[in-house]
């Protein structure tokens, strides 16, 4: 058994296999308990993450190349159509922006009158999604911004339409983020129309959020916009989250059955924006 080290020839048992397995299984269980209950293993994950990052880059390369080739070979008239569409969109956005700056000025004046603390603008930076979690029961993504870009745990991510999720783990140059549709994600929101505050939970489906704590007599109806309330501290206030889809009032239950559709297209985005909220910037 000792003499021969060939893999094939010796039909004998592998020495010390059982004890090695026992040790490794034990280590795995200790790791899982530590990871699940206390979340002490951020550093370990970060270290191993640096091994995974090159793999993700390589896996992503063909998709990037395809995207590049596709945009490079788009027909000229298609490009012109796209250009026209973008121009029209820009005009519209600019028009809205003009109104916004007027409103912002007015808001500042009113806040002055009320002697309220002035709202400060948040800082935003674009990051790209480089990987999407394979497990449908954990909606997480990996983005190409990490500690070197000053990303931090709990940082909010948005796209052009609304809130996407938050960073749960910052690596050196990448971070892992949980989407708002993740079953274990909860987000403090308020109804834009009425100011009613509640919680939006992820459901595991990209197109649906649950609002479990809305009383039967609450003023809420399909089409209401939900925005972040800023309570809880993780998300800055005022970003759109979802639009109420169904309101099902059940007479004998204390709470109505309310679902909402996320404003951001969670499973289609390639780019996300990281928000450094004003309060977070002030801390630094």
């Amino acid at each position: 058994m000792v003499a021969s080290r060939t893999d094939n020839s010796n039909p004998a048992r592998i020495p010390a296999l059982g004890s090695r397995v026992l040790v490794l299984l034990f280590v795995s269980i200790v790791l899982m308990v530590l990871d699940h209950q206390q979340d002490h293993l951020g550093a370990v994950r970060r270290t191993i993450g640096t091994v995974v990052y090159p793999l993700q880059i390589v896996v992503d390369a063909p998709f990037r190349l395809w995207e590049w080739v596709r945009t490079g070979t788009t027909e000229r008239n298609e490009m012109q159509l796209e250009l026209g569409r973008l121009k029209a969109e820009r005009l519209l956005t600019n028009a809205r922006l003009q109104r916004l700056s007027a409103l912002e000025a007015e808001n500042a004046r009113l806040r002055d009158l009320l002697e309220a603390r002035a709202q400060v603008r948040d800082e935003v930076r674009v990051a790209e999604i480089i990987a999407v979690d394979a497990n449908p029961y954990r909606h997480t993504i990996v983005i190409d911004a990490g500690q070197s870009e000053n990303a931090y745990d709990g940082q909010a991510l948005i796209d052009a339409d609304g809130v996407i999720g938050q960073i749960i783990q910052t690596g050196l140059t990448t971070s892992q983020a949980m989407l708002i549709s993740d079953p274990s994600h909860s987000l403090p929101v308020e109804v834009n129309r009425t100011g009613l505050r509640t919680i939006a939970n992820g459901t595991g489906e990209f197109g649906r959020l649950d609002l479990p704590f809305i009383t039967n007599n609450a003023d809420i109806r399909p089409g209401d916009l939900l925005v972040t309330s800023g309570l809880g501290g993780a998300f800055p206030a005022g970003y759109p989250v979802a639009v109420v889809d169904t309101v099902n009032r059940i007479p004998q239950e204390p709470f109505a059955d309310v679902t909402a559709i996320p404003a951001a297209s969670l499973n289609q985005v390639r780019e996300v924006m990281l928000i450094w909220s004003a309060s977070e910037l002030a801390d630094e």
Binding site: D7, L24, V27, I48, V51, L55, Q56, V59, A134, P183
Partner: protein, 163 residues
């Protein structure tokens, strides 16, 4: 260890790295629950054919990397891979002389055991689970086994005999 020295390890490591990459390739939503467990298939093959060089240690290491890549509980895939590779190594003399059909049936059982361990840990950790994502990878993994085994056989013959 005729030719399976340091040089002989490279192709095996490459096959494991490729299987890891296949685990993180983005798939469309509908296909996600049916992603075969490439890493498990590759590790089962090497544990069956070269159990002295590739057994529980490498399985555990690859499992930890997979945990980080997929954002699962740290140690979940490590434990599951380690255990099924242990089972494979214990059975390797028996199963590696099986004809392909019988071997595929065995791999089906091993993959089912693998998913069972993953689901058990998910359940203990309070992660929601359902039947499609349990049986999806088991079935597609079994279907892909003959392909993986044939490809890796080519690699193995090259490693062992320098063909």
């Amino acid at each position: 260890m005729s030719r399976a020295g340091v040089a002989g390890r490279t192709p095996v490591i490459v096959s494991i790295v490729v299987s890891l990459m296949l685990m993180i390739v983005p798939l469309p939503d509908w296909a996600e629950p049916f992603r075969p467990d490439w890493v498990a298939l590759v590790l089962i093959y090497w544990a069956m054919m070269m159990p002295r060089t590739w057994s529980v240690g490498i399985a555990w290491l690859v499992g930890i990397i997979l945990d980080v890549a997929q954002g699962t509980i740290l140690g979940q895939h490590a434990l599951a891979l380690c255990f099924i590779v242990f089972v494979t190594v214990r059975l390797h003399l028996l199963i590696r002389v099986f004809p392909m059909q019988q071997l595929t049936a065995t791999v089906f059982a091993i993959l089912a055991l693998y998913q069972f361990i993953l689901f058990w840990i998910n359940g203990a950790a309070g992660v929601d689970v359902d039947a499609v994502s349990y049986w999806g990878p088991v079935i597609t993994g079994t279907l892909f086994w003959p392909v993986v085994a044939t490809l890796l056989r080519g690699v193995r013959l090259r490693v062992q005999h320098g063909l």
